[in-house]
C-alpha cells in the first residue's frame, strides 16, 4: 500500500507523541495501576450471591457483608438488608469511574504538560517546523497522540473492569462504558488549558499551575447554589459569569456519574460549558501556534 505524503507526515507527528508519552513513567504507571485494578477484581474479590443479593463479599479472604440502609415502607423505620448485587456492581463501577476521572486527568495532564512544553523548546521546534507540513497538521498530530493515549488507557481500564464485573456477576451495565468518552473528554478540556498556556508561554510549570488552578476554582464553582445566595450584585453576576465561562470539572462529576450509572442526567450545563471552554481554548492554542515565532 502506498501511503500519501500527508498521511505519512501525520503518522510521524502521532508517533513522536506516542513514543514520548510511553517514555514517561506516568503513562506506564497508569497502565500498571489499571492492570492491578482488574486483576484485583478478578482474583481478590469473591462474591457469595443469594437470590440476587450479596450474602458475603470476600476481599483477599476477608469477609464482609455489604449492606444497604433502606426505610421500611410500612413503619418508616431505617433497617439494614444485604445489598442488591446490581447495586454493588454499579457502586464499584462508579468508584472506578470517579477515581479514574480525577487521577486520570490530574496525572494525565501532569505527564502531557512537560511533553508538550519540550516539543516547543527552541532546540526542537525549529527543526520540526522546517519540515514540509503545516503547523496545524503538526499540532493536530501531537494533540491526537495525547488524546489517543488517554483514550487507550481509559478504554483499557474501563473495559477490563466492566468485563470482569459483568462476567462475574452476570449483571451488564452498558452505560458504564460511557466512562471512556467522558474521561477522555474531561481530560481534553483540562489539556486544552495546558496546550494554550504552553503554546503561549512555553512553560509546563505555568501550564500545570493554571490547569490545576482551574480545577481548584471549579471546586468553588460547584458550590454555586450556596454561594449565590450569599452574594449581591455585582458579585452575583461575576460569579455566574465565571460559572458559565470556566470549566466545571468538579460539578460535572455527579452528572457524569448519573450518565455512567444509566440514570437521567439532571443538569447538562457543567458538562456542556466545560466542552465549550475546551473547544475555545483549543481553537486559541491552534491559532497562536500557527502564528508564533519560534
Amino acid at each position: 500500500m502506498i501511503a500519501s505524503r500527508p498521511a505519512i507526515q501525520f503518522s510521524g507527528s502521532l508517533q513522536l507523541t506516542f513514543r514520548e508519552l510511553w517514555s514517561t513513567y506516568v503513562t506506564l504507571g497508569l497502565f500498571v495501576v489499571s492492570t492491578i485494578c482488574w486483576l484485583f477484581l478478578t482474583f481478590a474479590m469473591n462474591l457469595d450471591v443469594v437470590e440476587g443479593s450479596v450474602a458475603a463479599l470476600r476481599i483477599f479472604g476477608f469477609e464482609s457483608t455489604p449492606t444497604d440502609h433502606i426505610r421500611d415502607p410500612e413503619t418508616g423505620e431505617w433497617m439494614s438488608q444485604s445489598m442488591g448485587l446490581d447495586k454493588l456492581v454499579v457502586g464499584i463501577q462508579s468508584f472506578v469511574f470517579g477515581a479514574s476521572y480525577f487521577l486520570g486527568t490530574l496525572l494525565g495532564i501532569f505527564a502531557a504538560a512537560p511533553l508538550t512544553a519540550s516539543l516547543v523548546t527552541e532546540s526542537r521546534i525549529g527543526l520540526l517546523l522546517s519540515k514540509p507540513l503545516s503547523r496545524h497538521r503538526f499540532l493536530a498530530g501531537h494533540v491526537l497522540g495525547v488524546f489517543a493515549t488517554v483514550l487507550l488507557l481509559s478504554t483499557y481500564l474501563v473495559l477490563s473492569v466492566w468485563l470482569v464485573l459483568s462476567l462475574k456477576t452476570g449483571i451488564w451495565v452498558p452505560s458504564f462504558l460511557l466512562a471512556i468518552p467522558i474521561i477522555t473528554l474531561m481530560f481534553g478540556v483540562m489539556y486544552s488549558v495546558v496546550l494554550l498556556v504552553v503554546v503561549i508561554t512555553g512553560s509546563s510549570g505555568f501550564a500545570l499551575v493554571t490547569s490545576y488552578g482551574l480545577i481548584f476554582i471549579s471546586f468553588i464553582l460547584a458550590a454555586q447554589e450556596q454561594i449565590l445566595t450569599q452574594l449581591i450584585t455585582p458579585g452575583k453576576e461575576i460569579f455566574l459569569g465565571l460559572y458559565y465561562l470556566l470549566p466545571n470539572f468538579i460539578e460535572a462529576v455527579p452528572f457524569a456519574v448519573q450518565l455512567v450509572e444509566g440514570d437521567p442526567v439532571q443538569n447538562w450545563v457543567p458538562i456542556t460549558s466545560s466542552i465549550v471552554f475546551g473547544a475555545v481554548a483549543f481553537f486559541g492554542a491552534f491559532q497562536w501556534f500557527s502564528r508564533k515565532d519560534f
Binding site: 502506498i2 501511503a3 505524503r5 500527508p6 505519512i8 507526515q9 503518522s11 510521524g12 507527528s13 508517533q15 513522536l16 513514543r19 514520548e20 517514555s23 523548546t121 527552541e122 532546540s123 526542537r124 521546534i125 525549529g126 527543526l127 520540526l128 517546523l129 522546517s130 519540515k131 514540509p132 507540513l133 503545516s134 503538526f138 502564528r291 515565532d293 519560534f294
Partner: protein, 312 residues
C-alpha cells in the same frame, strides 16, 4: 536551470522584544539571491541576524516586511520546504531514539515512504561516519556525533537545497574538516548549499559566494574572489628602483627584491592609478604586471563591517 534557489526581496524582521522591552530590528531590507549549484555563505558577527534570516526562509518565524521564495515557492508554505534540508544551529533529538529511529522520524515528517526512509538512513549514516552507531540511543552521543546525525537528517531524501546554520560550531578540527568535505561532496553532486557562519576561514575554504550581514543589514556580497579583492589597492611588478628615488609617488610602497620588485599602490580611481603608473614609468621602472590587491576574507570582513559601522 538558472532559477534562483533562494530569493529574498527587502526582507525585514522585527522581534517584538517582549513585555515592555523595546523591539529589536533583527533584519532590515535584506535582499539576496542564491543560484542553483552554489555554496553560499552568510557571514556576520554573533547577533547579526543570520539565524533570523534562515528561520524566516523556513517559516519558523514570520518576516515583518518583504518577501522571499525558496525553490520558487513563497516562504511559509509547506511546498517551499519539500526539497529542503536543514541543520539548525542548536538541535536536540529525543534521547530515547536510536540514530536510525531519529532519522526515520524526521523523514516521516517530511513525508518520505518507508522503503526510502530505510535505505536513505543506512546510506547517510554511512556517509557521516555513524554506521556503527546506527542502533545506539541518541542520548549517548557526543556533541560531534549529534552534529553528524543532524547533517544526515538534513540530507535525507536528497534535497535540492541544504541549509546549515553554523555547522562547524563546537566541532573539533577533524570534525570540521569532515563537514567541509561533506559540503564539497554535496556541491559536486549538484546540491545547493546555504550556510551561516561566523568562522571566516571555513567559509573561504568551501564557499563559492558569500554575503556579509551586520546588524541586520547586508553590507557586502560577491564571489569569494571579489570579496577578497582589496578596494583601491593594486600591486604592480616591475624592475626595482632605489627606495629613495625621487618622484616615487605618494601611496606607493615597494619591496625592492630582485629580479622583480612589487609596488603596492593605493588609488581611488582608474585615473589616479593610471597617473601613478605613469610616474613609475617616468622614474624608469619597466612594468611586468598589474593586479588588484588581495586580502583574506577575514580582513575583508573586518574592513567591510568597519566601513558599514562608520557609515552609520
Amino acid at each position: 536551470m538558472h532559477d534562483p534557489v533562494v530569493q529574498a526581496t527587502s526582507l525585514g524582521k522585527q522581534y517584538s522584544g517582549g513585555f515592555r522591552a523595546k523591539p529589536i530590528q533583527a533584519l532590515s531590507d535584506f535582499s539576496l539571491t542564491v543560484h542553483r549549484g552554489e555554496v553560499f555563505g552568510l557571514l556576520g558577527p554573533n547577533g547579526a541576524g543570520k539565524t533570523t534570516f534562515i528561520k524566516a526562509l523556513l517559516g519558523v518565524i514570520r518576516p515583518t516586511s518583504g518577501s522571499a521564495t525558496l525553490l520558487g515557492q513563497p516562504i511559509g508554505t509547506p511546498a517551499s520546504r519539500f526539497r529542503v534540508g536543514y541543520l539548525p544551529e542548536q538541535h536536540r533529538f529525543p534521547g530515547y531514539l536510536t540514530a536510525v529511529q531519529a532519522l526515520d522520524l524526521y523523514a516521516r515528517l517530511s513525508g518520505h515512504d518507508a522503503p526510502s526512509r530505510k535505505s536513505e538512513s543506512v546510506r547517510l549514516l554511512g556517509r557521516v561516519g555513524l554506521a556503527e552507531w546506527a542502533d545506539t540511543k541518541v542520548k549517548k552521543f557526543s556533541k560531534g556525533m549529534m552534529q553528524r546525525l543532524g547533517l544526515a537528517q538534513a540530507l535525507m531524501g536528497d534535497p535540492e537545497l541544504v541549509i546549515l546554520d553554523e555547522p562547524t560550531d563546537g566541532v573539533d578540527p577533524i570534525g570540521r574538516r569532515e563537514i567541509r568535505d561533506l559540503v564539497t561532496w554535496l556541491s559536486q553532486s549538484g546540491t545547493t548549499v546555504f550556510l551561516n557562519s561566523h568562522l571566516l576561514s571555513e567559509v573561504e575554504m568551501v564557499c563559492t559566494r558569500a554575503a556579509i550581514l551586520n546588524d541586520g543589514k547586508l553590507v557586502g556580497q560577491g564571489s569569494i574572489a571579489e570579496l577578497t579583492t582589496a578596494p583601491a589597492a593594486y600591486e604592480a611588478q616591475g624592475t626595482p628602483v632605489d627606495a629613495g628615488l625621487p618622484g616615487l609617488p605618494d601611496g606607493v610602497t615597494h619591496d625592492g627584491e630582485l629580479p622583480w620588485a612589487t609596488y603596492r599602490i593605493h588609488a581611488d580611481s582608474p585615473e589616479e592609478l593610471t597617473a601613478m603608473l605613469g610616474q613609475l614609468i617616468k622614474a624608469g621602472v619597466t612594468l611586468r604586471q598589474v593586479t588588484s590587491g588581495k586580502r583574506t576574507l577575514e580582513q575583508a570582513f573586518v574592513e567591510i563591517v568597519a566601513d558599514a559601522e562608520a557609515a552609520n
